[in-house]
Symmetry: C2
Subunit: 338 residues, 2 copies
Amino acid sequence: MPTNRQFLLDSRPQGAASAANFKLVTGETPPLQEGQVLVRHHYLSLDPYMRGRMDDAKNYAAPQPLGQVMQGGTVGEVVESRSPRFQAGDKVLGQGGWQEYSVVDAEQKGALRKVDTSQVPLSYYLGAVGMPGVTAWYGLEKIIRPQAGKTVVVSAAAGAVGSAFGALAKARGCRAVGIAGGPDKCRYVVDDLGFDACLDYKQHPDAGSLSKALKQACPDGVDGYFENVGGMVMDAVMLRMNPFGRIAVCGMIAGYDGRPVPMTYPQLILRSRLTVEGFIVGEHMEVWPQALQELADLVAAGKLRPRESIAQGIESAPEAFLGLLHGRNFGKQLVKLV
Amino acid sequence: MPTNRQFLLDSRPQGAASAANFKLVTGETPPLQEGQVLVRHHYLSLDPYMRGRMDDAKNYAAPQPLGQVMQGGTVGEVVESRSPRFQAGDKVLGQGGWQEYSVVDAEQKGALRKVDTSQVPLSYYLGAVGMPGVTAWYGLEKIIRPQAGKTVVVSAAAGAVGSAFGALAKARGCRAVGIAGGPDKCRYVVDDLGFDACLDYKQHPDAGSLSKALKQACPDGVDGYFENVGGMVMDAVMLRMNPFGRIAVCGMIAGYDGRPVPMTYPQLILRSRLTVEGFIVGEHMEVWPQALQELADLVAAGKLRPRESIAQGIESAPEAFLGLLHGRNFGKQLVKLV
């Protein structure tokens, strides 16, 4: 049995998360039982939602238990199988967690899914053609519901969700405007992702300043907004929302790692008759097949070219995760485990 | 021609509104042209939305022009008519403004409506069976969309909108919980309006404390919330919202008269997958006939017994309006002009 290195949640953060919250342990993978498969992980996905699960607070998902392997999405290869549904060499997507190998009950519905890597690179199933991509699809299609010609905005535009959002919005004939941190990300958002414009929030000391820049980038106002960030960026966009604008709330990373960040102008919900709706993509499994198909088609057509930040080796996972929380990633954050 | 006293908007508030913003003038009503009627106002409606129009800010309605008669809903009696559609003695609802008489172009659609006072007292057409009642109806029926057995909460529960909301919610089999200011209002909300419970926000120093009390009053959590107030009260209710809860934003009076009041926990929109929707009832005229019919039926059946705060004489309008902004009214705020 191969040696397996894994990260456990060792303690819950007091305020900001730190590397000390995680503990690296080494063990052997257990022998397979009937119906199980052994998966060697090629990539681990790091996602902002993981920060919420580190707390013991009321949340939409159960907290990550202390002393257990950190949960997370993985792609990899079946190396041994005692299930008729999988064989060695199969490329698979699963919830393997922060470790190099996992033993999976292959009969459990949704635990493991074979993926086709002929058109779509394996790692993309954790990003553009995976949960983040479907997240963008749901927020755009089911909450914002844009018409061609309307203006939609997304924060964290260079990230896994934001980049998919841009491609999907352009495919619907919208004006797509991104917000990202730093000139490199903004250039990438426009040049590689095909957004119509991108604003660097780091150039703006406050919501008023960013809002003024948004007015230039969105001359017809903002009809739909996909929220990944919260705080000052959300305040700035809300000031530019058109009447009957729609906001899909997917994340508020600005407030994940410490004190909650308020919404400064809630009265705009009334004045502009906005609809603001929070959602969790895992609660809408019915849309996944349709969404994944569209995302895979966009990738195959070269219309969605996601970028990845790849950390090497399981030992790099905590620092890569903390970097993600502070926007130091550039595109989908992964850990390469092979 | 009768003498007409009227209040003009004389200046815009700097921060809080004050009596000095209004100016009382006296004149004669002009002679009627063909198609016009002269209405003697019996009651003027005072409503929180008027505060927003006093500012020159971007808003959903055009600002109240300086130097012109303050706009507002009125009920009264036709005293002279040069229109075939009305005759002296008709009881009518209109937008007569802060004055004792108005001259109305009777042919203009929606300018004047005859009302039936055989079952419903004339003043109710400015409250429970008028705009505030339809406001409650729209938020409950079209945004909150409650099922029987669910828990709905309304702030400013003793007010014109809140009292109608309670009757409508009970008619739908919901648990109705109010929030109001002071023990007298809370008693009235439960004893006279038929709410299941009412909380006095003045007994609570902060949102955490009010939220704890809400947990008692709403043992199954809160499924729908009708927001009239904003600020600390909204924060407290948001902490108790069930997953997929729905919030209708009708008003945020806490922030009308000075600095905007933030929403402290916007991350709850995500965590609890809430939908928060602002609306203006005047943009949904299609629901008015159905809503008014249900409200009139509830009044006739004794199931909606609205209370009124009646100030006497046009000269009392400014102080009554400022009192409304600070919750000093008890039920629908009117000015009696006859």
